[in-house]
Protein backbone atom coordinates (compact mmCIF):
# COMPACT_ATOMS: atom_id res chain seq x y z
CA UNK A 1 0.00 0.00 0.00
CA UNK A 2 2.78 2.40 0.86
CA UNK A 3 4.57 1.77 -2.42
CA UNK A 4 1.32 2.28 -4.31
CA UNK A 5 0.82 5.64 -2.62
CA UNK A 6 4.39 6.55 -3.41
CA UNK A 7 3.87 5.57 -7.03
CA UNK A 8 0.72 7.65 -7.19
CA UNK A 9 2.44 10.66 -5.70
CA UNK A 10 5.32 10.36 -8.13
CA UNK A 11 3.00 9.99 -11.10
CA UNK A 12 0.98 13.02 -10.14
CA UNK A 13 4.13 15.06 -9.75
CA UNK A 14 5.31 13.97 -13.20
CA UNK A 15 1.95 14.56 -14.83
CA UNK A 16 2.21 18.21 -13.78
CA UNK A 17 -0.51 20.77 -14.31
CA UNK A 18 -3.58 20.75 -16.54
CA UNK A 19 -5.95 18.49 -14.62
CA UNK A 20 -3.93 15.40 -15.35
CA UNK A 21 -4.72 12.41 -13.20
CA UNK A 22 -3.30 8.99 -12.70
CA UNK A 23 -4.45 5.42 -12.52
CA UNK A 24 -1.96 3.03 -10.96
CA UNK A 25 -3.46 -0.41 -10.39
CA UNK A 26 -1.76 -2.16 -7.47
CA UNK A 27 -0.06 -4.90 -9.52
CA UNK A 28 0.73 -2.93 -12.64
CA UNK A 29 4.24 -2.78 -13.94
CA UNK A 30 3.11 -0.25 -16.51
CA UNK A 31 2.16 3.15 -15.16
CA UNK A 32 -0.64 4.96 -16.97
CA UNK A 33 -1.03 8.73 -16.96
CA UNK A 34 -4.08 10.35 -18.50
CA UNK A 35 -4.58 13.96 -19.50
CA UNK A 36 -7.25 15.85 -21.40
CA UNK A 37 -10.96 15.09 -21.72
CA UNK A 38 -13.16 13.84 -24.55
CA UNK A 39 -15.20 16.07 -26.82
CA UNK A 40 -18.13 15.10 -24.57
CA UNK A 41 -18.25 13.56 -21.08
CA UNK A 42 -21.08 11.42 -19.80
CA UNK A 43 -21.70 11.86 -16.06
CA UNK A 44 -22.01 8.33 -14.68
CA UNK A 45 -22.49 6.92 -11.17
CA UNK A 46 -20.96 3.53 -10.48
CA UNK A 47 -22.26 2.05 -7.23
CA UNK A 48 -20.28 -0.54 -5.32
CA UNK A 49 -21.23 -4.10 -6.26
CA UNK A 50 -22.60 -6.19 -3.36
CA UNK A 51 -19.90 -8.53 -1.94
CA UNK A 52 -17.32 -7.41 -4.47
CA UNK A 53 -14.51 -7.82 -1.94
CA UNK A 54 -14.82 -11.57 -2.63
CA UNK A 55 -12.92 -11.36 -5.94
CA UNK A 56 -9.13 -10.89 -6.05
CA UNK A 57 -9.54 -7.49 -7.70
CA UNK A 58 -12.40 -5.11 -7.11
CA UNK A 59 -14.61 -5.15 -10.20
CA UNK A 60 -15.95 -1.59 -9.90
CA UNK A 61 -12.45 -0.14 -9.44
CA UNK A 62 -11.42 -1.62 -12.77
CA UNK A 63 -14.62 -0.42 -14.47
CA UNK A 64 -14.13 3.12 -13.12
CA UNK A 65 -10.45 3.19 -14.21
CA UNK A 66 -11.39 2.02 -17.71
CA UNK A 67 -14.17 4.56 -18.19
CA UNK A 68 -12.20 7.50 -16.79
CA UNK A 69 -9.14 6.61 -18.89
CA UNK A 70 -11.28 6.71 -22.04
CA UNK A 71 -11.84 10.44 -21.51
CA UNK A 72 -15.56 10.21 -22.30
CA UNK A 73 -16.90 9.73 -18.76
CA UNK A 74 -17.08 11.79 -15.59
CA UNK A 75 -17.60 9.84 -12.35
CA UNK A 76 -20.35 10.97 -9.99
CA UNK A 77 -19.53 10.06 -6.41
CA UNK A 78 -21.86 7.42 -4.96
CA UNK A 79 -20.50 5.81 -1.81
CA UNK A 80 -23.47 3.43 -2.05
CA UNK A 81 -23.55 -0.33 -2.62
CA UNK A 82 -26.49 -1.26 -4.87
CA UNK A 83 -27.31 -4.71 -6.24
CA UNK A 84 -28.87 -5.32 -9.63
CA UNK A 85 -32.15 -6.39 -7.99
CA UNK A 86 -32.64 -3.30 -5.77
CA UNK A 87 -35.26 -0.73 -6.78
CA UNK A 88 -33.70 2.45 -8.20
CA UNK A 89 -34.86 5.97 -7.40
CA UNK A 90 -34.06 7.61 -10.77
CA UNK A 91 -34.91 11.15 -9.58
CA UNK A 92 -32.33 10.91 -6.81
CA UNK A 93 -29.56 10.05 -9.32
CA UNK A 94 -30.71 12.71 -11.76
CA UNK A 95 -30.44 15.28 -8.96
CA UNK A 96 -26.88 14.14 -8.29
CA UNK A 97 -26.13 14.86 -11.95
CA UNK A 98 -25.76 11.26 -13.11
CA UNK A 99 -27.15 10.44 -16.55
CA UNK A 100 -26.29 6.77 -16.12
CA UNK A 101 -26.07 4.41 -13.15
CA UNK A 102 -24.20 1.10 -12.85
CA UNK A 103 -25.11 -1.44 -10.13
CA UNK A 104 -24.29 -5.09 -9.51
CA UNK A 105 -23.19 -7.90 -7.27
CA UNK A 106 -20.69 -10.71 -6.82
CA UNK A 107 -21.64 -14.18 -5.58
CA UNK A 108 -19.42 -17.18 -4.88
CA UNK A 109 -20.46 -20.23 -6.92
CA UNK A 110 -20.08 -23.85 -5.80
CA UNK A 111 -17.16 -24.44 -8.23
CA UNK A 112 -14.86 -21.62 -7.01
CA UNK A 113 -16.05 -19.27 -9.71
CA UNK A 114 -17.80 -15.97 -9.05
CA UNK A 115 -21.11 -14.91 -10.52
CA UNK A 116 -20.59 -11.26 -11.45
CA UNK A 117 -23.85 -9.50 -12.26
CA UNK A 118 -24.26 -6.00 -13.59
CA UNK A 119 -26.98 -3.63 -14.72
CA UNK A 120 -26.82 -0.26 -16.52
CA UNK A 121 -29.60 2.33 -16.16
CA UNK A 122 -30.38 5.46 -18.13
CA UNK A 123 -31.48 7.76 -15.28
CA UNK A 124 -32.80 10.45 -17.62
CA UNK A 125 -35.17 8.10 -19.40
CA UNK A 126 -35.70 6.02 -16.22
CA UNK A 127 -35.01 2.73 -17.97
CA UNK A 128 -32.68 -0.26 -18.02
CA UNK A 129 -30.13 -0.01 -20.86
CA UNK A 130 -28.22 -3.24 -20.41
CA UNK A 131 -27.06 -5.92 -18.01
CA UNK A 132 -25.67 -9.44 -17.86
CA UNK A 133 -24.02 -11.94 -15.58
CA UNK A 134 -20.70 -13.72 -16.10
CA UNK A 135 -19.48 -16.83 -14.25
CA UNK A 136 -15.88 -15.78 -13.64
CA UNK A 137 -12.89 -17.89 -12.54
CA UNK A 138 -10.88 -15.86 -9.94
CA UNK A 139 -8.01 -15.17 -12.38
CA UNK A 140 -10.45 -13.72 -14.94
CA UNK A 141 -11.87 -10.99 -12.66
CA UNK A 142 -10.11 -8.24 -14.61
CA UNK A 143 -11.40 -9.58 -17.92
CA UNK A 144 -14.98 -9.64 -16.67
CA UNK A 145 -14.66 -6.07 -15.36
CA UNK A 146 -13.23 -4.96 -18.76
CA UNK A 147 -16.20 -6.65 -20.51
CA UNK A 148 -18.66 -4.74 -18.33
CA UNK A 149 -16.77 -1.49 -19.09
CA UNK A 150 -16.88 -2.37 -22.82
CA UNK A 151 -20.66 -2.82 -22.60
CA UNK A 152 -21.18 0.48 -20.74
CA UNK A 153 -18.96 2.30 -23.25
CA UNK A 154 -20.83 0.86 -26.23
CA UNK A 155 -24.34 1.45 -24.86
CA UNK A 156 -23.59 5.06 -23.90
CA UNK A 157 -21.29 6.24 -26.71
CA UNK A 158 -22.47 4.05 -29.60
CA UNK A 159 -18.92 2.83 -30.27
CA UNK A 160 -17.67 -0.64 -29.33
CA UNK A 161 -15.49 -0.64 -26.19
CA UNK A 162 -11.83 -1.71 -26.36
CA UNK A 163 -11.06 -2.27 -22.67
CA UNK A 164 -10.91 -6.07 -23.02
CA UNK A 165 -8.51 -5.93 -25.98
CA UNK A 166 -4.77 -6.48 -25.62
CA UNK A 167 -1.56 -4.85 -26.77
CA UNK A 168 1.80 -6.29 -27.78
CA UNK A 169 5.09 -4.43 -27.41
CA UNK A 170 8.82 -5.03 -26.94
CA UNK A 171 10.76 -4.17 -23.80
CA UNK A 172 14.50 -4.03 -23.39
CA UNK A 173 16.06 -4.51 -19.99
CA UNK A 174 19.80 -5.15 -19.73
CA UNK A 175 20.70 -7.40 -22.66
CA UNK A 176 17.27 -9.03 -22.78
CA UNK A 177 14.53 -8.24 -25.27
CA UNK A 178 11.01 -9.38 -24.42
CA UNK A 179 7.92 -9.50 -26.57
CA UNK A 180 5.13 -8.87 -24.07
CA UNK A 181 1.35 -9.08 -24.23
CA UNK A 182 -0.74 -6.97 -21.84
CA UNK A 183 -4.32 -5.83 -21.37
CA UNK A 184 -5.06 -2.52 -23.11
CA UNK A 185 -4.68 -0.77 -19.72
CA UNK A 186 -1.11 -2.10 -19.40
CA UNK A 187 -2.00 -4.61 -16.69
CA UNK A 188 -1.87 -8.42 -16.82
CA UNK A 189 1.55 -8.57 -18.52
CA UNK A 190 2.64 -11.90 -20.05
CA UNK A 191 5.96 -12.58 -21.79
CA UNK A 192 5.54 -14.24 -25.21
CA UNK A 193 9.23 -14.32 -26.22
CA UNK A 194 12.59 -13.67 -24.57
CA UNK A 195 15.72 -13.12 -26.66
CA UNK A 196 19.21 -11.70 -26.40
CA UNK A 197 18.78 -10.13 -29.83
CA UNK A 198 16.36 -7.39 -30.95
CA UNK A 199 12.70 -8.08 -31.75
CA UNK A 200 10.78 -5.55 -33.87
CA UNK A 201 7.52 -5.04 -35.76
CA UNK A 202 5.07 -7.32 -33.91
CA UNK A 203 1.76 -7.67 -35.80
CA UNK A 204 -1.45 -9.32 -34.54
CA UNK A 205 -3.45 -11.76 -36.64
CA UNK A 206 -7.08 -10.63 -37.01
CA UNK A 207 -8.32 -13.32 -34.59
CA UNK A 208 -5.81 -12.30 -31.91
CA UNK A 209 -4.31 -15.78 -31.52
CA UNK A 210 -1.00 -15.20 -33.33
CA UNK A 211 1.66 -12.53 -33.56
CA UNK A 212 4.10 -12.14 -36.45
CA UNK A 213 7.38 -10.36 -35.70
CA UNK A 214 10.97 -9.82 -36.83
CA UNK A 215 13.67 -11.46 -34.71
CA UNK A 216 17.42 -10.89 -35.06
CA UNK A 217 18.38 -14.10 -33.22
CA UNK A 218 20.09 -15.40 -36.41
CA UNK A 219 22.35 -12.28 -36.74
CA UNK A 220 19.93 -11.01 -39.41
CA UNK A 221 16.24 -10.09 -39.53
CA UNK A 222 13.93 -13.10 -40.02
CA UNK A 223 10.10 -13.08 -39.94
CA UNK A 224 8.41 -15.48 -37.50
CA UNK A 225 4.79 -16.27 -36.61
CA UNK A 226 4.07 -17.37 -33.05
CA UNK A 227 0.92 -18.93 -31.67
CA UNK A 228 0.36 -17.10 -28.37
CA UNK A 229 -1.55 -19.90 -26.65
CA UNK A 230 0.76 -22.82 -27.54
CA UNK A 231 4.05 -20.93 -27.88
CA UNK A 232 4.65 -22.75 -31.17
CA UNK A 233 6.61 -20.56 -33.57
CA UNK A 234 7.67 -20.94 -37.18
CA UNK A 235 9.77 -19.06 -39.71
CA UNK A 236 7.61 -17.45 -42.39
CA UNK A 237 10.40 -15.73 -44.30
CA UNK A 238 14.14 -16.34 -44.06
CA UNK A 239 15.40 -15.52 -47.53
CA UNK A 240 18.89 -14.31 -48.34
CA UNK A 241 19.21 -10.72 -47.08
CA UNK A 242 16.77 -9.02 -44.70
CA UNK A 243 13.22 -10.19 -43.98
CA UNK A 244 10.95 -7.72 -42.20
CA UNK A 245 7.76 -5.63 -41.77
CA UNK A 246 5.11 -8.40 -41.54
CA UNK A 247 1.42 -7.40 -41.81
CA UNK A 248 -1.58 -9.75 -41.78
CA UNK A 249 -4.35 -9.78 -44.35
CA UNK A 250 -7.73 -9.21 -42.60
CA UNK A 251 -8.79 -12.84 -43.28
CA UNK A 252 -5.58 -14.14 -41.68
CA UNK A 253 -4.55 -16.25 -44.69
CA UNK A 254 -1.67 -14.15 -46.01
CA UNK A 255 1.07 -11.83 -44.82
CA UNK A 256 2.61 -8.89 -46.63
CA UNK A 257 6.29 -8.34 -45.86
CA UNK A 258 9.48 -6.66 -47.06
CA UNK A 259 12.38 -8.74 -48.41
CA UNK A 260 15.77 -7.73 -49.80
CA UNK A 261 16.42 -11.07 -51.54
CA UNK A 262 16.82 -9.30 -54.89
CA UNK A 263 19.03 -6.51 -53.53
CA UNK A 264 16.67 -3.63 -52.86
CA UNK A 265 13.99 -3.95 -50.15
CA UNK A 266 10.68 -4.74 -51.89
CA UNK A 267 7.18 -5.89 -50.87
CA UNK A 268 5.96 -9.47 -51.23
CA UNK A 269 2.97 -11.45 -50.00
CA UNK A 270 3.15 -14.96 -48.61
CA UNK A 271 0.76 -17.55 -47.16
CA UNK A 272 0.62 -17.62 -43.34
CA UNK A 273 2.60 -20.90 -43.40
CA UNK A 274 5.42 -19.37 -45.46
CA UNK A 275 4.47 -20.90 -48.83
CA UNK A 276 3.26 -19.13 -51.98
CA UNK A 277 5.66 -16.17 -52.07
CA UNK A 278 4.61 -13.47 -54.56
CA UNK A 279 6.27 -10.17 -55.37
CA UNK A 280 3.69 -7.37 -55.22
CA UNK A 281 5.49 -4.88 -57.52
CA UNK A 282 8.84 -3.69 -58.82
CA UNK A 283 10.17 -0.26 -57.97
CA UNK A 284 13.44 1.60 -58.29
CA UNK A 285 13.46 2.58 -54.58
CA UNK A 286 12.91 1.09 -51.16
CA UNK A 287 9.38 -0.29 -50.67
CA UNK A 288 8.53 -1.44 -47.12
CA UNK A 289 6.02 -1.25 -44.20
CA UNK A 290 3.05 -2.76 -46.05
CA UNK A 291 -0.39 -2.59 -44.33
CA UNK A 292 -3.63 -4.10 -45.58
CA UNK A 293 -6.73 -1.91 -45.58
CA UNK A 294 -9.54 -3.31 -43.36
CA UNK A 295 -11.47 -4.52 -46.44
CA UNK A 296 -8.36 -6.35 -47.67
CA UNK A 297 -8.50 -4.61 -51.08
CA UNK A 298 -5.48 -2.32 -50.77
CA UNK A 299 -1.98 -2.30 -49.39
CA UNK A 300 -0.63 0.97 -48.02
CA UNK A 301 3.16 1.14 -47.92
CA UNK A 302 6.23 3.34 -47.64
CA UNK A 303 8.36 4.01 -50.72
CA UNK A 304 11.25 6.36 -51.47
CA UNK A 305 10.89 5.89 -55.23
CA UNK A 306 10.25 9.63 -55.58
CA UNK A 307 13.31 10.67 -53.53
CA UNK A 308 12.26 10.81 -49.87
CA UNK A 309 10.04 8.32 -48.05
CA UNK A 310 6.30 8.84 -48.72
CA UNK A 311 3.18 6.75 -48.30
CA UNK A 312 1.56 5.08 -51.29
CA UNK A 313 -1.34 2.73 -51.92
CA UNK A 314 -1.67 -0.17 -54.36
CA UNK A 315 -4.29 -2.85 -55.11
CA UNK A 316 -3.74 -6.10 -53.22
CA UNK A 317 -2.96 -7.83 -56.54
CA UNK A 318 -0.71 -5.06 -57.82
CA UNK A 319 -1.56 -2.43 -60.40
CA UNK A 320 -0.62 1.22 -60.28
CA UNK A 321 0.69 2.70 -57.02
CA UNK A 322 -0.91 5.99 -55.96
CA UNK A 323 0.89 8.46 -53.73
CA UNK A 324 -1.11 9.33 -50.57
CA UNK A 325 1.05 11.79 -48.56
CA UNK A 326 2.31 15.09 -49.97
CA UNK A 327 3.12 17.28 -46.95
CA UNK A 328 6.69 17.14 -45.67
CA UNK A 329 9.58 15.12 -47.12
CA UNK A 330 9.63 12.19 -44.67
CA UNK A 331 6.41 10.27 -44.03
CA UNK A 332 6.69 6.70 -42.76
CA UNK A 333 4.83 3.84 -41.02
CA UNK A 334 1.32 4.04 -42.52
CA UNK A 335 -1.56 2.62 -40.45
CA UNK A 336 -5.09 2.67 -41.74
CA UNK A 337 -8.15 3.04 -39.45
CA UNK A 338 -10.70 0.19 -39.26
CA UNK A 339 -13.24 2.27 -41.27
CA UNK A 340 -10.61 3.01 -43.93
CA UNK A 341 -11.03 6.80 -43.65
CA UNK A 342 -8.07 7.84 -41.52
CA UNK A 343 -4.38 7.29 -42.18
CA UNK A 344 -2.01 7.55 -39.22
CA UNK A 345 1.73 7.92 -39.86
CA UNK A 346 4.95 9.43 -38.54
CA UNK A 347 6.19 12.58 -40.23
CA UNK A 348 9.52 14.34 -39.80
CA UNK A 349 9.21 18.13 -39.82
CA UNK A 350 11.84 20.47 -38.39
CA UNK A 351 13.78 17.39 -37.23
CA UNK A 352 10.88 16.21 -35.06
CA UNK A 353 9.35 12.79 -35.67
CA UNK A 354 5.67 13.18 -34.79
CA UNK A 355 2.36 11.38 -35.11
CA UNK A 356 0.00 12.74 -37.78
CA UNK A 357 -3.39 11.69 -39.09
CA UNK A 358 -4.77 12.34 -42.56
CA UNK A 359 -8.52 12.29 -43.18
CA UNK A 360 -8.50 10.54 -46.56
CA UNK A 361 -11.87 11.82 -47.90
CA UNK A 362 -11.02 15.49 -47.23
CA UNK A 363 -7.21 15.44 -47.30
CA UNK A 364 -7.19 17.26 -43.94
CA UNK A 365 -3.99 16.62 -41.97
CA UNK A 366 -3.60 16.95 -38.18
CA UNK A 367 -0.60 16.57 -35.88
CA UNK A 368 -1.51 14.54 -32.78
CA UNK A 369 1.62 14.67 -30.63
CA UNK A 370 3.94 17.18 -28.99
CA UNK A 371 6.79 14.73 -28.54
CA UNK A 372 9.72 14.49 -30.97
CA UNK A 373 10.67 10.84 -31.32
CA UNK A 374 7.40 9.12 -32.15
CA UNK A 375 7.25 5.71 -33.83
CA UNK A 376 5.01 2.69 -34.50
CA UNK A 377 1.43 4.03 -34.41
CA UNK A 378 -1.49 1.58 -34.26
CA UNK A 379 -5.26 2.09 -34.08
CA UNK A 380 -7.42 0.67 -31.31
CA UNK A 381 -9.81 -1.85 -32.92
CA UNK A 382 -12.73 0.58 -32.47
CA UNK A 383 -10.78 3.25 -34.35
CA UNK A 384 -11.06 5.85 -31.58
CA UNK A 385 -7.49 5.84 -30.28
CA UNK A 386 -3.95 5.54 -31.60
CA UNK A 387 -1.16 4.01 -29.53
CA UNK A 388 2.43 4.88 -30.43
CA UNK A 389 5.97 4.68 -29.09
CA UNK A 390 7.71 7.82 -27.92
CA UNK A 391 10.47 8.86 -25.60
CA UNK A 392 10.11 10.09 -22.05
CA UNK A 393 13.23 11.11 -20.14
CA UNK A 394 15.52 9.32 -22.65
CA UNK A 395 13.57 6.11 -22.16
CA UNK A 396 11.09 4.50 -24.51
CA UNK A 397 7.48 4.84 -23.38
CA UNK A 398 4.06 4.29 -24.92
CA UNK A 399 1.41 6.92 -25.50
CA UNK A 400 -2.25 6.75 -26.46
CA UNK A 401 -4.14 9.63 -28.04
CA UNK A 402 -7.75 9.84 -29.19
CA UNK A 403 -8.05 10.35 -32.95
CA UNK A 404 -9.48 13.84 -32.30
CA UNK A 405 -6.37 14.64 -30.22
CA UNK A 406 -8.35 15.47 -27.07
CA UNK A 407 -7.52 12.58 -24.70
CA UNK A 408 -3.95 11.49 -23.95
CA UNK A 409 -2.44 8.64 -21.96
CA UNK A 410 1.16 7.78 -21.27
CA UNK A 411 2.37 4.31 -20.28
CA UNK A 412 5.83 3.86 -18.81
CA UNK A 413 7.66 0.92 -17.26
CA UNK A 414 9.51 1.30 -13.96
CA UNK A 415 12.82 0.31 -15.52
CA UNK A 416 14.04 -0.21 -19.07
CA UNK A 417 12.72 0.68 -22.46
CA UNK A 418 9.34 -0.05 -24.00
CA UNK A 419 8.84 0.18 -27.78
CA UNK A 420 7.19 -1.23 -30.92
CA UNK A 421 3.61 -1.23 -29.54
CA UNK A 422 0.75 -2.64 -31.54
CA UNK A 423 -2.90 -2.76 -30.52
CA UNK A 424 -4.61 -6.15 -30.82
CA UNK A 425 -8.01 -6.90 -32.35
CA UNK A 426 -11.40 -7.48 -30.70
CA UNK A 427 -11.43 -11.02 -29.31
CA UNK A 428 -14.33 -13.41 -29.92
Amino acid sequence: MRSLLKKLALSIALAGIGGAFVIAPAQAQLRVEVSGVGSFQIPIAIAGFANESLTPQQVTTIIKDDLVRSGYFRLIDTGAVITESSPVNFDEWKQKGAEALVVGSVQQLADDRYDVRYKLFDTVKSQTLSGFSVATPPMNTRQTAHKIADDIYEKLTGVKGMFSTRIAYVTKGGSEYRLEIADADGDGIKVALRSNEPIISPAWSADGTKVAYVSFEAKKPVVWVQNLMTGERRVVANYKGSNSAPAWSPDGTRLALALSRDGLTQIYTVNADGTGLRRLMNSSGIDTEPQFSADGQFIYFLSDRGGGPQIYRIGVNGGEAKRVTFNGNYNITPRISPDGNTLAYISRRDNKFQLYVLDLPTGQEQRLSDTTKDESPSFSPNGRYIMYATESGRRGSLAVVSVDGKVRQKLTVQAGDIREPTWGPFMK
Binding site: I200, I332, T333
Partner: protein, 178 residues
Protein backbone atom coordinates in the same frame (compact mmCIF):
# COMPACT_ATOMS: atom_id res chain seq x y z
CA UNK B 1 62.48 -56.27 -39.04
CA UNK B 2 65.48 -55.39 -37.01
CA UNK B 3 64.56 -51.76 -37.20
CA UNK B 4 61.12 -52.50 -36.02
CA UNK B 5 62.17 -54.47 -33.01
CA UNK B 6 64.75 -51.80 -32.26
CA UNK B 7 62.19 -49.07 -32.48
CA UNK B 8 59.89 -51.14 -30.28
CA UNK B 9 62.63 -51.25 -27.69
CA UNK B 10 63.11 -47.52 -27.98
CA UNK B 11 59.41 -47.01 -27.64
CA UNK B 12 59.29 -49.16 -24.56
CA UNK B 13 62.23 -47.33 -23.10
CA UNK B 14 60.55 -44.00 -23.76
CA UNK B 15 57.32 -45.21 -22.28
CA UNK B 16 58.96 -46.45 -19.11
CA UNK B 17 60.81 -43.16 -18.76
CA UNK B 18 57.55 -41.33 -19.25
CA UNK B 19 55.85 -43.54 -16.69
CA UNK B 20 58.67 -43.10 -14.21
CA UNK B 21 58.72 -39.35 -14.54
CA UNK B 22 54.99 -39.35 -14.31
CA UNK B 23 55.13 -41.29 -11.07
CA UNK B 24 57.95 -39.17 -9.76
CA UNK B 25 56.18 -35.91 -10.33
CA UNK B 26 53.11 -36.93 -8.33
CA UNK B 27 50.53 -36.39 -11.02
CA UNK B 28 47.05 -36.18 -9.53
CA UNK B 29 45.03 -39.39 -9.85
CA UNK B 30 42.61 -38.26 -12.51
CA UNK B 31 45.41 -37.37 -14.94
CA UNK B 32 46.96 -40.86 -14.96
CA UNK B 33 44.85 -42.07 -17.85
CA UNK B 34 46.31 -39.40 -20.14
CA UNK B 35 49.88 -40.30 -19.30
CA UNK B 36 49.37 -43.94 -20.21
CA UNK B 37 48.12 -43.06 -23.70
CA UNK B 38 51.33 -41.39 -24.84
CA UNK B 39 53.55 -44.46 -25.45
CA UNK B 40 50.91 -45.97 -27.76
CA UNK B 41 50.99 -42.93 -30.02
CA UNK B 42 54.79 -43.01 -30.09
CA UNK B 43 54.79 -46.64 -31.26
CA UNK B 44 52.64 -46.08 -34.30
CA UNK B 45 54.12 -42.78 -35.49
CA UNK B 46 57.64 -44.08 -35.35
CA UNK B 47 56.80 -47.23 -37.28
CA UNK B 48 58.72 -45.97 -40.36
CA UNK B 49 62.07 -44.37 -39.52
CA UNK B 50 62.38 -43.04 -43.10
CA UNK B 51 59.26 -41.00 -42.70
CA UNK B 52 59.68 -37.26 -42.68
CA UNK B 53 56.95 -35.25 -41.07
CA UNK B 54 56.60 -31.76 -42.42
CA UNK B 55 56.41 -29.11 -39.78
CA UNK B 56 55.27 -25.55 -40.32
CA UNK B 57 56.41 -22.74 -38.13
CA UNK B 58 53.58 -21.03 -36.27
CA UNK B 59 51.81 -18.97 -38.92
CA UNK B 60 48.36 -17.53 -38.34
CA UNK B 61 45.53 -17.19 -40.80
CA UNK B 62 45.91 -13.52 -41.87
CA UNK B 63 42.32 -13.14 -40.75
CA UNK B 64 43.38 -13.79 -37.16
CA UNK B 65 46.24 -11.27 -37.21
CA UNK B 66 45.08 -8.43 -34.99
CA UNK B 67 47.56 -6.05 -36.65
CA UNK B 68 46.89 -7.16 -40.23
CA UNK B 69 44.89 -5.31 -42.85
CA UNK B 70 42.02 -7.78 -42.45
CA UNK B 71 41.50 -6.69 -38.85
CA UNK B 72 39.71 -3.61 -40.26
CA UNK B 73 36.20 -4.86 -40.99
CA UNK B 74 34.03 -1.74 -40.89
CA UNK B 75 33.03 0.58 -43.71
CA UNK B 76 31.69 3.96 -42.61
CA UNK B 77 29.16 6.06 -44.53
CA UNK B 78 28.27 9.74 -44.62
CA UNK B 79 24.86 10.98 -43.44
CA UNK B 80 22.12 9.91 -45.83
CA UNK B 81 24.74 8.22 -48.04
CA UNK B 82 24.87 4.66 -49.34
CA UNK B 83 28.10 4.64 -51.38
CA UNK B 84 31.45 3.24 -50.23
CA UNK B 85 33.77 6.19 -49.56
CA UNK B 86 37.31 6.41 -51.01
CA UNK B 87 38.74 5.99 -47.46
CA UNK B 88 37.16 2.54 -47.08
CA UNK B 89 37.88 1.10 -50.54
CA UNK B 90 41.02 -0.58 -49.12
CA UNK B 91 38.94 -2.42 -46.49
CA UNK B 92 36.71 -3.77 -49.25
CA UNK B 93 39.72 -4.67 -51.45
CA UNK B 94 41.66 -6.48 -48.72
CA UNK B 95 38.70 -8.67 -47.74
CA UNK B 96 37.89 -9.30 -51.41
CA UNK B 97 41.46 -10.52 -51.96
CA UNK B 98 41.21 -12.84 -48.98
CA UNK B 99 37.81 -14.22 -50.01
CA UNK B 100 38.83 -14.86 -53.63
CA UNK B 101 41.79 -16.95 -52.42
CA UNK B 102 39.82 -18.60 -49.59
CA UNK B 103 36.70 -19.72 -51.40
CA UNK B 104 35.43 -21.76 -48.47
CA UNK B 105 35.11 -18.68 -46.27
CA UNK B 106 31.75 -16.95 -46.04
CA UNK B 107 30.77 -13.56 -44.71
CA UNK B 108 27.74 -11.64 -43.53
CA UNK B 109 27.78 -7.95 -44.38
CA UNK B 110 25.68 -6.21 -41.71
CA UNK B 111 24.44 -2.70 -42.51
CA UNK B 112 23.62 -0.23 -39.72
CA UNK B 113 22.07 3.22 -39.38
CA UNK B 114 21.92 5.92 -36.75
CA UNK B 115 18.98 6.00 -34.33
CA UNK B 116 16.93 8.70 -36.04
CA UNK B 117 13.69 7.67 -37.77
CA UNK B 118 11.58 4.53 -37.94
CA UNK B 119 12.83 0.96 -37.35
CA UNK B 120 11.67 -0.50 -40.65
CA UNK B 121 12.79 2.34 -42.94
CA UNK B 122 16.16 2.32 -41.18
CA UNK B 123 16.34 -1.45 -41.70
CA UNK B 124 15.91 -0.88 -45.45
CA UNK B 125 18.52 1.93 -45.42
CA UNK B 126 21.01 -0.28 -43.54
CA UNK B 127 20.39 -2.89 -46.23
CA UNK B 128 21.43 -0.34 -48.88
CA UNK B 129 24.77 0.12 -47.07
CA UNK B 130 25.34 -3.64 -46.84
CA UNK B 131 24.42 -3.94 -50.53
CA UNK B 132 26.90 -1.23 -51.51
CA UNK B 133 29.70 -3.23 -49.88
CA UNK B 134 28.45 -6.51 -51.38
CA UNK B 135 28.36 -5.04 -54.89
CA UNK B 136 31.88 -3.61 -54.56
CA UNK B 137 33.21 -6.99 -53.43
CA UNK B 138 31.34 -8.75 -56.20
CA UNK B 139 33.04 -6.47 -58.75
CA UNK B 140 36.38 -7.48 -57.21
CA UNK B 141 35.60 -11.13 -57.92
CA UNK B 142 34.04 -12.36 -54.67
CA UNK B 143 31.36 -14.95 -55.42
CA UNK B 144 27.79 -14.24 -54.29
CA UNK B 145 27.75 -17.67 -52.66
CA UNK B 146 30.36 -16.39 -50.19
CA UNK B 147 28.43 -13.24 -49.16
CA UNK B 148 25.11 -12.29 -47.65
CA UNK B 149 24.17 -8.63 -47.24
CA UNK B 150 21.78 -8.09 -44.32
CA UNK B 151 20.68 -5.16 -42.17
CA UNK B 152 20.49 -4.54 -38.45
CA UNK B 153 18.95 -1.11 -39.09
CA UNK B 154 19.13 1.00 -35.94
CA UNK B 155 18.58 -1.99 -33.63
CA UNK B 156 22.18 -2.75 -32.63
CA UNK B 157 23.98 0.58 -32.21
CA UNK B 158 27.71 0.28 -31.50
CA UNK B 159 27.72 3.77 -30.01
CA UNK B 160 24.78 4.44 -27.71
CA UNK B 161 25.02 8.22 -27.41
CA UNK B 162 22.54 10.64 -28.92
CA UNK B 163 25.00 12.98 -30.63
CA UNK B 164 26.68 13.36 -34.02
CA UNK B 165 29.75 11.35 -32.93
CA UNK B 166 27.60 8.34 -31.99
CA UNK B 167 25.44 8.67 -35.09
CA UNK B 168 28.56 8.72 -37.32
CA UNK B 169 29.89 5.58 -35.59
CA UNK B 170 26.61 3.80 -36.30
CA UNK B 171 26.41 4.68 -40.02
CA UNK B 172 28.41 1.59 -40.83
CA UNK B 173 28.57 -1.80 -42.51
CA UNK B 174 30.49 -4.60 -40.79
CA UNK B 175 32.10 -7.62 -42.43
CA UNK B 176 31.42 -10.64 -40.22
CA UNK B 177 33.15 -13.97 -41.00
CA UNK B 178 31.02 -17.06 -40.40
Amino acid sequence: MRFTSQSKTIAMLISSVVLMTACASKVPLEEKAKVEEKPVVATTSQADPNAVKEVKTASVDPLDDPKGVLAKRSVYFDFDSYVVKEDYKSVVENHSKYLTTNKARKILIQGNTDERGGSEYNLALGQKRAEAVRKSMNLLGVSDAQMEAVSLGKEKPKATGHDEASWAENRRADIVYQ
